[in-house]
Amino acid sequence: MREVMVLAEARRGELRPVSFELIGAARALCEQGAGEPVVALIGPDAEAQAGAVSLEGVQRVLVVPTPQAHFEAHVAQAAVEALIEQRRPSLVLAGHTIDSLGFAPAVAARGEHGFAGDVTSVSWREQGALAQRPAYGEELIAELDFPGKETVILLLRPGAFEPTAAAEAGIEVERVELDLATAARSERVELREAPSEQRDIAKADFLLALGRGIGSADSLPRLERLAEAIGATVSVSGPLVEAGWASRTRKVGQSGKTVAPRVYLALGISGAAQHLAGMSRSRTIVAVNSDPGARIFDFAHYGAVADLFEIADELERLSA
């Protein structure tokens, strides 16, 4: 029987939540006939994590020890290439995460495997996998197939698939020794954790979320003042941090923090998938955007097509 191989992702010795979603997706695909699920743990403390994948539908776990004490893209690449070579899985599932983006496309290109990233839905038919992913910047959905590909590597969007539940059943752990001693091509100088701040946006009940619609850093003091007046904490979208307008601690999204406040009041945020990844579980989402077609209106609870500064002024007046 062919295998559906899940590349579990860990950081600092702990499995990241997307790993459980990958296993959930693998189970569903296996029920449709894609093969049997096998979970690969690649990393220094892989063995210690094996217990954590004692999950429904998981019988077999591959443990691949690596020489480095942390993720290194070229080591991961070499390990996955060797696993595909040895086991010829029908599917390899990994997260559409920054780590996977650092090696999976290289594996796919070198092996001429099937490949798709940011996959939001996938099914299996006799002819193989059928995947869906966004096209034209989320405006449309593209349906993809992979004719003639023995192995297809899919990077699944975090949050898009149901995670698997824990199970009592035992797992069979297989240790795979690979020669990875010289695979690394980069050296870690330092890992900097997200700096902590007194006002942690992840703990705030009410976020005033600012996006590129604010135009320039000059607008920030005035919006900070508004936040103060209405009792909200300021959070921002990615571009404001990259532009140096706001501290990294305030960023919401895939490469920022995940938040779920009671109220997420978004001013001038378009609603990109990577932003959504960090805030879609907010209890009440209110969006102000001058573009009626902005994607954020699709998932906000309340929306106003308006100039954010006009609304900000009125809100400040009301709270005075």
């Binding site: 070198r110 989320e138 449309l140 941090v241 009671r262």
Partner: protein, 265 residues
């Protein structure tokens, strides 16, 4: 340092492309050519700026390359106006609509001929958003690579780069050359060319190559491609927001009431 900067002309749907226009019959969308608006990819201005900054005052050469039809020359000329030394465009009808892995194969053929010390790609393109072309290209060239980089600095013969991680953490890495980095948007302030530079770029020559010129054919592309698009469909709309309309004062009052209620609940 010789730096190769792949740039992409991206398509977005015209603003008035409504959900209504989509979904004829079986739910599939037909895209008429005039529904697309083409612009240079946002991310590529940042990778080019990073390249120009690294080569500032040095002996280096910065080359922009695109895989695209004539429309894509806008991206190349924007790059030339910013200060790139040369521009290369590769095109063949067989390249229409191909995926990131097939594009990477073509870029690999160009890079093998150009032999750059460093390749700077965008972290992603705003239309395909594969976020895959750069690392796929590095895989084919067997050079070191780091994805989603937000700082690049020289370190003797090597580079020190900072890559983003989920949750606000960052990793500092040292990589040797040749290397390929994918660059996050917003990490620098791309220079704005003056009118003279724009005019010169308009008149500059762009090397145009066909598939055969880079040693490839349609068959090679077909095996390189990672996927095939079978259909385009309208995106599923979310629940949709309850729209608050009226003058700003009225909207603000509604928002204040909604917030007040949500905070008490």
């Amino acid at each position: 340092m010789k730096i190769l900067v792949p740039v992409k002309q991206v398509a977005c749907l015209r603003e008035d492309f409504g959900a209504g226009a989509a979904g004829a019959g079986n739910g599939a969308v037909e895209l008429a050519p005039d529904t697309l608006v083409w612009t240079p990819n946002e991310w590529d201005a940042f990778s080019l700026e990073a390249a120009l900054a690294l080569n500032e005052g040095g002996e280096g050469e910065t080359v922009v390359v695109t895989v695209g039809d004539e429309r894509a020359e806008e991206s190349l000329r924007a790059g030339l106006a910013m200060g790139a030394d040369r521009a290369v465009r590769v095109w063949d009808q067989a390249l229409a609509g191909v995926d990131a892995l097939a594009i990477a194969r073509v870029l690999a053929a160009v890079a093998s001929a150009e032999r750059p010390d460093l390749i700077l790609c965008g972290a992603q393109s705003s239309d395909a958003a594969s976020a895959a072309t750069g690392v796929a290209l590095a895989g084919l060239l067997e050079c070191a690579h780091v994805a989603v980089v937000e700082q690049i600095g020289p370190d003797g013969e090597r580079l020190i780069v900072q890559r983003q991680l989920e949750g606000g953490a960052v990793e500092l890495l040292s990589v040797g050359l040749p290397a390929l980095l994918t660059v996050q948007s917003g990490i620098n302030a791309p220079r704005r060319p003056n009118l003279r530079a724009i005019k010169q770029a308009r008149a500059a020559s762009v090397a145009v190559l066909g598939l055969a010129d880079v040693g490839l054919d349609a068959g090679a592309l077909a095996s390189a491609a990672g996927s095939r698009t079978v259909a385009l469909m309208p995106r599923p709309r979310g629940g949709g927001a309850t729209l608050l309309d009226g003058p700003p004062a009225e909207i603000a009052a509604r928002i204040a009431a909604i917030v007040g209620e949500a905070m008490r609940a």
